[in-house]
Symmetry: D2
Subunit: 351 residues, 4 copies
Amino acid sequence: MSHSTLRAAIVGSTGYGGVELIRLLHAHPNVTVTSVISSSSAGAPIAEGFPHLTEIRTDTLDGVDPELIRSKADVVFLATPHGVSMKLAPEFLAAGLKIIDLSGDFRLKDGEAYRKWYKHEPAEAAQVEQAVYGLCEVFGKEAAGRPFISNPGCYATAAILGLFPAVEAGWIDSDSLIIDAKSGVSGAGRGLSLSAHFSEINENFKAYKLNKHQHTPEIEQALARAAGRPVTVTFTPHLVPMTRGIMCTMYAAQPGKRRSDAEFVELYRKFYEGRSFVRVRHAGQWPATKEVWGSNYCDIGFSNDERTGRVTIISVIDNLVKGAAGQAIQNLNLSMGWEETLGLQFTPAYP
Amino acid sequence: MSHSTLRAAIVGSTGYGGVELIRLLHAHPNVTVTSVISSSSAGAPIAEGFPHLTEIRTDTLDGVDPELIRSKADVVFLATPHGVSMKLAPEFLAAGLKIIDLSGDFRLKDGEAYRKWYKHEPAEAAQVEQAVYGLCEVFGKEAAGRPFISNPGCYATAAILGLFPAVEAGWIDSDSLIIDAKSGVSGAGRGLSLSAHFSEINENFKAYKLNKHQHTPEIEQALARAAGRPVTVTFTPHLVPMTRGIMCTMYAAQPGKRRSDAEFVELYRKFYEGRSFVRVRHAGQWPATKEVWGSNYCDIGFSNDERTGRVTIISVIDNLVKGAAGQAIQNLNLSMGWEETLGLQFTPAYP
Amino acid sequence: MSHSTLRAAIVGSTGYGGVELIRLLHAHPNVTVTSVISSSSAGAPIAEGFPHLTEIRTDTLDGVDPELIRSKADVVFLATPHGVSMKLAPEFLAAGLKIIDLSGDFRLKDGEAYRKWYKHEPAEAAQVEQAVYGLCEVFGKEAAGRPFISNPGCYATAAILGLFPAVEAGWIDSDSLIIDAKSGVSGAGRGLSLSAHFSEINENFKAYKLNKHQHTPEIEQALARAAGRPVTVTFTPHLVPMTRGIMCTMYAAQPGKRRSDAEFVELYRKFYEGRSFVRVRHAGQWPATKEVWGSNYCDIGFSNDERTGRVTIISVIDNLVKGAAGQAIQNLNLSMGWEETLGLQFTPAYP
Amino acid sequence: MSHSTLRAAIVGSTGYGGVELIRLLHAHPNVTVTSVISSSSAGAPIAEGFPHLTEIRTDTLDGVDPELIRSKADVVFLATPHGVSMKLAPEFLAAGLKIIDLSGDFRLKDGEAYRKWYKHEPAEAAQVEQAVYGLCEVFGKEAAGRPFISNPGCYATAAILGLFPAVEAGWIDSDSLIIDAKSGVSGAGRGLSLSAHFSEINENFKAYKLNKHQHTPEIEQALARAAGRPVTVTFTPHLVPMTRGIMCTMYAAQPGKRRSDAEFVELYRKFYEGRSFVRVRHAGQWPATKEVWGSNYCDIGFSNDERTGRVTIISVIDNLVKGAAGQAIQNLNLSMGWEETLGLQFTPAYP
């Protein structure tokens, strides 16, 4: 570890977001993970519970001890459930640590919305205000130099990246948006539940939390900035019998002139110019989730229907990378003033 | 075999629809499969290519020989690709055989629509006119006593059963319909293709034929009867890394009064009263595909969103049963004047 | 329900073995399930937790109340964990109920072996003695008229059916037996555990309990009857990322004359003559698990290696049918003096 | 590209081995892929057929043109089927190019064995003699500075790494070896076949090529070097419904003194000392395939059975990495005198 290396701690290292941070940061040239932290397994060698890390990490898990972490790290990734991050973040911030929070606690600027959708008391408004909403390709400039970043939700990342340019351009009606989302099961986390039990989800496809999912207001908050007025969307999440991957299939009316697929491609390519991790597919090609598996890409495609005047927009991400750990590192890069792609240029694993 | 047994032949016995007919008819008290037919494998014992039939069927495959079939069977199931059924059906009909056609050749009454969506010349109009569109729970009465039934498409079955009652009641706007459909890979058939190659589709989720799928006009034709005027829908099929199952997640605006989930449940239960194979779930419960796996059920659920005024309707089927072989047998039952459930009361295989 | 119907109760109806009993018995002409029983969910409609049973079973779960069960049922299936069956069985037996026990509690005649492999105190020796070990195709005659049957383990069923004839004939060396077994995840049951968590087992293959699995002594006990002397085997279970299915790939030395595949086929066909549920494949064809999916079959194939003199024997079953609920019903049939195939002639679901 | 970069060409870039080479070499600091080659798709942009490479590779596929390749590359990876490599290799070698061949054409030193197991005429003996068998952790020293390396088979890699140290030490009886192998479906390649058709293999487990698989003599050839005499093994490959991963579960008798798991661990750790990609697990822990997914590791574990005296050895690899593209790059590294881990230190992707 050179003296210029940034030292990172990961709280929640035994969840899927946490172990994915370990995997990705292992390849980062400027960052060294100096502390892996777990409230439930402190003291155990991390490779015991996660044998894929054998000989890669030989250290033991630390407890959630702010004093200790302060002494070992410069930046803390909070890969913790909502409700927990809001307790830990203030203390770490006060100690001068940089925070990248992967939970939903600081994403919604409106405390009432948080209360309604998360069924939980919101974090203090002052804290929430301090957190930058780190959707890199849309609001990335706001992250530069900032010490406290709220990493977007997985579904929200795919949905907003797929809709923002067209909403902002006024090409699609922001009152017409329907987001039909599909996710691999790792999005449900490592906590045991019947809905993530193998025999229940294998050879099965199911919808859940219809019109109730907590990423809905997050998507609406971001798109309102594009539309310049409040936006309400229909959002339906589904579980796919696979581990990683999110697809959003999104439907919108075109209120005015109808554009071709090629025009959409051009609009999006221009919007995302210079941003390596959004790949706008050429007209007639739609991305599949495997095409971004294990990588930080978000791929987007279009299909206009001349019969209905609706456009269908498809976006895909790896929920654990661009939808969690990868974007968190991208946010760290932006916050540090580094290239946003640093340590993140993984080719998707195919097949 | 008692003299009262109906003798059935299956053309296309080596496709997934054909072997599912064999499985289901094996349990039918009034039908005996007397000929399994394949143009490509005639002469081979069927259990050689399909070892799950070992000791269940010890016969060899027949060729596509109308003379032979006439001598062995009373009813012919055509589990053949589109373009083939239209060649075989007239000859069999002329010989006095009952025909249940599982292809798309006789579903669309409008030859132009067939030509446009199937990229193929349509069957003769007179033949098409003769075929009853056998969506049992909606148009089932029309099948009674009829010798020629066109079995609906898999996606179309799930979509129409899920939308018809609300369109007919005028509760949802027939110009607003969006059908986001997901299917297991068996729907792509047994023919080899890269898109059904295991390593390409496992741990993957993809969309295909956006705004181009040939079940679109079939859905529109049926819903036009509900609406009393032409209907145009947006339809997006996706492939799920599983073998069986279709879910349609459908979105509609409510043009007038907004109804509750409970009201939708009541409307649908009334509409499907006395029909055993549609199970309308109680408010707040949405069906998953595994819950109908291996059975002839179509299960339906609802979610109204007070914020947008849209209703989301979810329907699921097993694409090879209710979406193909099961409904074909149900059509035979109706055509023969038998109980529609005869030989079809399989409990879904769970897990 | 005619007066001749046998009334059945299922204790443990909310486990996978229990719900499979419900599915299979639903098709049995002589049996009606009159009570579904669960200690944890008594009072709840069974279709609420198991929506695939919607409109198929409208009753609520009963508690574990022997008085109640006695009044409702003639036979009780105990689909309960080991340690529980040994508590329930004596009481039910005393009340004159017939018992089919699916747990491991009464399989091992040697209490010491039970203690060692199950890490639990054995049932009372007198009870154990009373229980017939119901491996139908091998010891089926012993079940006739008997009130208390211990249903074999899933792995044990596949292994014993695949090895017994050759061991008994002295064709293979009973000291050389190696059983490499692979199972779908439903074998691990419906209880939550990290090893059955979807994201842990999907796209994964793992071994477990090497040389420690409790079906080992059960296999040895049965094969000792074939060999006429104690048998010790090497047994390795693995988890396959699928829901249903067991394959045992078994290796044996041929101590004397080396036989051909065809000779093995002949030996086994003769041994299993008249038994519908064992299908001995012709030489050169080996069964795959999907070929018995959802059915009560056990399929067996052979491969002799002239280079090593070893024979490889492959057997497959559906772990929830022939490995649990199906064989339990087959045992009931034998015990009642009915055809052993009654209500069990399901064609495997393919694909 | 610095002048010190080695230029690589990949023949067979549209197979799974080829695209995996592209993925891995993209991260290699000393190598640039300058030509991706396909006989069937020459002229097409590689990202058109492999959209996961969008914006990562913008070049088109070259034809199999030795002149062209000589002008563009220093090393050629032959990810071609057997029978093809033997035609291409001599020409490229003659032109002074370094060759890493991933096919089976140059693995077997005995032409008769090649003829028997591959059912194909062997390559010229002089060519075969020239090729170094590149099982890095066992015969790695032989690759240093050599221009022509034959990359081991996937099954053979896992089997030999798991058995070699114990055979060499004389701890296990080389006449007793049984290798029960399981592979993900990507091992069957990208060519279409019914046995890799999704609906056939999903929710299925099957054995194939019993006692006939062409990796058998490759394993025997390597183990003979350990034993100092000919070795004959029983080898059974199976297909697992997953994309990547191989496990070998291997059984051996211990002819003399019986060793403990801990003694095996010590023996293997000593044997593989200094080799980063073999991870010998501590006693009582057995590796699962997911624990090496996407990485170049081979993990090994042991279980001794005091009852039978047999030891069970488990080894796992990712068949496309350590079993193909990764080991090929490792061989390049060794051949070039670089660190063998260069560009290959991927953390396994979990979950």
